[in-house]
Symmetry: C2
Subunit: 340 residues, 2 copies
DNA sequence: CTGAAAGCGCTTACAG
DNA sequence: CTGAAAGCGCTTACAG
């Protein structure tokens, strides 16, 4: 017959309960359960059995207080309204949850000040790890991150900078590839239309620009940049303006699929033939792009794979393991459909 | 000249530091800062000044350990891929963050078992509050919630059940209103097309059914139910099937806008005139519905208002305040555009 | 490989 | 209205 376990106020078994049941000291239970340091295999199994029997689950608050490190991972993303980041997030959670980490989501709204403020708040909770979008943090943000010593992984971009851990792909190359595709299709006046104008959008702009310049086709009137948030409605407006004001334009490369989808809808409304009169291309392959009329040519970006890889890299860093490849480029795929 | 504050290992000032600086006991600092119980106003301001000066921020882990309650609020939603819940979430965070609570998001994927598992995990962290979607929890989930004693608010539906706190609207009434609108437009064979088939979708089905039956127009062949997740592609397929197999149908009421958007795109592809030959209606007024061709008639649902109100209600419950109205109905709005 | 001691930074009763 | 004591449930050095 086993002794009835002592229970704390909340009714949950404690480390001490397990220790008594297993006939060892609490610290041994702690070590056995965490798999830290060498513990006699026989004791380990005795402890595990006792923990199992008592339904023991470590108290995250106590653990955080004693170790000065919580079981939270903070993930900073620009927006939840962009399906891109939802995919990223789901992949991150899928890796982190089974490993015992809780994901705290911070939405920066594409604002570096808000990002810094969010980071500051999250740091108070001593997160075990950090995932942040992009590499373009404010001075203060970088300083906070460095000072905190919390392991961090950047997502969506790549970097060769030493000491920086990141998983992403080359936004520049992806945009260049799409631009080359349009030129290969015989298009000459390829406009670039962008909204939001966050760092990754500007990298795409640069990729487009370089290919256009190399082809001797670049022209400032082909750049349509709008700092407003990306949306179907804005894409429609931009498209209407472009074909209205620059009838010679024979292709529009939008920096994001929602803009391109809006453009396709506007083209139907305005009876502008796509791709006959003007080709339309997007970026990211968001939901619905394959359903458009015509289906949208776009760039498929590996955000789920990025989320998984970043989470696994972070997991390694959090347990102090070495990371063989600190800069992972997951590439992209040109998805040629009927709109170009 | 002020004494240099003692600092803990992490470099952060502690409650004791503030107490020394203010010349009071730690417990008085704790009470003064939390505004709990009566503390001499003069001491309060002295404490606040000291805290300010030392840049004191309470340690969430210590607080959670001592009080057996964390500063987390867990929010359980079915999916992040439905823009509806993203809007809800953003509103919730907007209320909770300034109040000092962190939001932990749990995605159930419309699965009651997964919901129960998620709740179980979150409960280990002793959340201060809980927001859950709908009222249709599994037995075990209900038991866990009741036993935990954690204040909870349900969202998206309404309930008259005593002891249940909820903020939402009548899914049944909203669907009934849309159906009546279609009948008022002279439509007679109004199909109802739904995916996912979660509880709220089934309530909409019931609303449609009741109006159709009351009008003597109900017919089982008008019900198109598909348990697969809702998507543009599925909406297109369903629309194609309906007009193909039931040419007499003169309206299709989709349970969600993404399905209806897909239907509109399919209609364009199939050259089915909307609304002339068949009217199309949706639900939720998601992004893009106003950009469709023709713009989609739908029901605008107040998810942001629901998120804010639910968060405020939870805030009241967490501080032990009485909630005057435990069952808040925020209504809905029929948005008649050109597709009906 | 294992343990006794101390401590993480708060809050909860219990006194006065 | 204020405080001294105890404790929340763990982990971190420090010994052996």
């Amino acid at each position: 017959m086993t002794t009835a376990p002592r229970r704390r106020a909340t009714g949950r078994a404690t480390l001490t309960d397990v220790a008594q049941a297993a006939g060892v000291s609490p610290i041994t239970v702690s070590r056995a359960l965490r798999g830290e340091r060498a513990v006699d295999p026989e004791l380990v199994s005795r402890v595990q059995a006792a923990a199992q029997r008592l339904g023991y689950v470590p108290d995250p608050a106590a653990r955080a207080l004693a170790s000065q490190r919580s079981s939270h991972v903070a993930v900073l993303i620009p927006a939840l309204s962009n399906a891109l980041f939802v995919d990223l997030l789901e992949a991150v959670q899928r890796e982190l949850r089974p490993a015992g980490y809780q994901t705290l989501i911070g939405v920066t709204h594409y604002d570096r000040q808000e990002e810094e403020q969010l980071l500051r708040e999250h740091l108070l909770h001593r997160p075990a790890g950090l995932i942040v979008t992009g590499l373009d943090q404010a001075e203060g943000t970088r300083a906070l991150m460095a000072r905190s010593g919390v392991p961090c992984v950047h997502v969506m971009e790549t970097s060769a900078e030493p000491g920086v851990f990141c998983v992403g792909f080359s936004q520049f190359d992806a945009a260049a590839a799409m631009t080359r595709h349009l030129l290969a299709r015989g298009r000459r006046r390829v406009a670039f239309a962008a909204a939001q104008l966050d760092p990754r959008t500007l990298q795409r702009l640069a990729g487009w620009r370089q290919v256009m310049q190399a082809a001797g086709l670049h022209d400032a009137t082909l750049e349509w940049l709008n700092p407003a948030p990306s949306s179907l409605a804005l894409g429609g407006q931009m498209f209407e303006q472009i074909v209205g004001q620059r009838p010679a334009v024979d292709a529009v490369f939008f920096c994001n699929d929602d803009l391109a989808q809006g453009a396709l809808l506007a083209a139907a409304r305005l009876k502008v033939a796509v791709p006959r009169r003007v080709a339309v291309a997007g970026f990211n392959d968001l939901t619905g792009s394959d359903q458009m009329l015509p289906p949208l040519t776009t760039v498929r970006t590996p955000r789920s794979a990025i989320g998984s890889a970043a989470a696994r890299m972070l997991l390694a860093r959090m347990r102090g393991a070495a990371v063989a490849q600190p800069n992972v480029d997951l590439g992209f795929e040109l998805l040629v459909r009927d709109s170009t």
